[in-house]
Amino acid sequence: MNNKISIRIDGELIPATPGASLLETALAHGKFIPSLCHMKGLSSVGACRLCLVEVAGVNRLLPACTTPVQDGMSVTTQSDKLRRYRKITLELLFAERNHVCAVCVSNSHCDLQSLAQRLGVTSVRYPYTFPKVPVDLTHKKFALDQNRCILCTRCVRVCAEVEGAHVWAVSSRGVGSRLVCELNRAWADSRY
């Protein structure tokens, strides 16, 4: 079963392993597809929608992170439509919470910020929400500032899938979604 197959990404023929995702395959061959929720070693959730690509013969956009490669697949990762939608996606994230890059501890080492730069987002067309969101400073070593949270759930998955601790989850729904520690405890009071 480990026969190599090949796919085309933006016209270029690329060898692939059956069962691998489009995103892994592309990244392994130096092809850039933007993504914020994907992280190597974790399950894929298809939440950020930035890795959507066009696949020939499929009339809707598919997330590269959860779409397995198939022999002969022809994939477009860059098109006007995809560029437009990716910019909108990033702008929506910036508008959702309070990302004040200038005073952020992650300034200059932040995936959201660098992706915005790379994709040419220089302003946000949607009105900012300016929500009031919690900041948990109880833990001795860490702080949780949900002003900057984009709900990528990488932390939730690391904690569950790598550590096996299951401390974190996402509570509520919609724009009210917030990261929650156990039964809504202060981080300092958690079991870990």
Binding site: H166, A169, L183
Partner: protein, 184 residues
Amino acid sequence: MPAEFLPGDAPQRGALSFEEQDFIDRLIASHQGQPGMLLSLLEEIQERQPHKYLPADYLEYLAARTGIPGAQIYSVATFYALFNLKPQGDHTICICRGTACHTRGSRDLLERMKLQLGLVPEEDDGSADKLSMTTPDRRFTLRTVACFGQCALAPVVEVDHAIHGHVNERALDREVDALRKGGA
């Protein structure tokens, strides 16, 4: 997969009585391993409370006994509209905000009830159309539901689990007055 029971994980807070602990233990036993277990457990715990909510102690105990991570329980309890984390009023007035009810004026009913019960939404309450508010004296809870599926009777209001169809402001006022006078 349903999480396994971890024997070493004793309840941390002893706020529940033996009777209450026993209730939960039996509840867990009757649903163990079944699909939909957590939903059913939470539904039955809430239904048992006179003020129809999920007390934190119960959730702690439930987490400890089932081994379901607390975060997951909290996530579920806040995701579904049915669950309350705060005690509800003695009387619940639930206004349907379904399409048919909306086109037949349920928003006016909602506004009227807020006025009648003296409920003022806080600024961060989000949208005024989706809410659950309880009066400070805990007599009344006013809430909305997406749809009762009673569209032919629109607008529909449920007062203490009794469905009223073709409701107008006057009829609703009378209903609430009667509850007020009825005590308890």
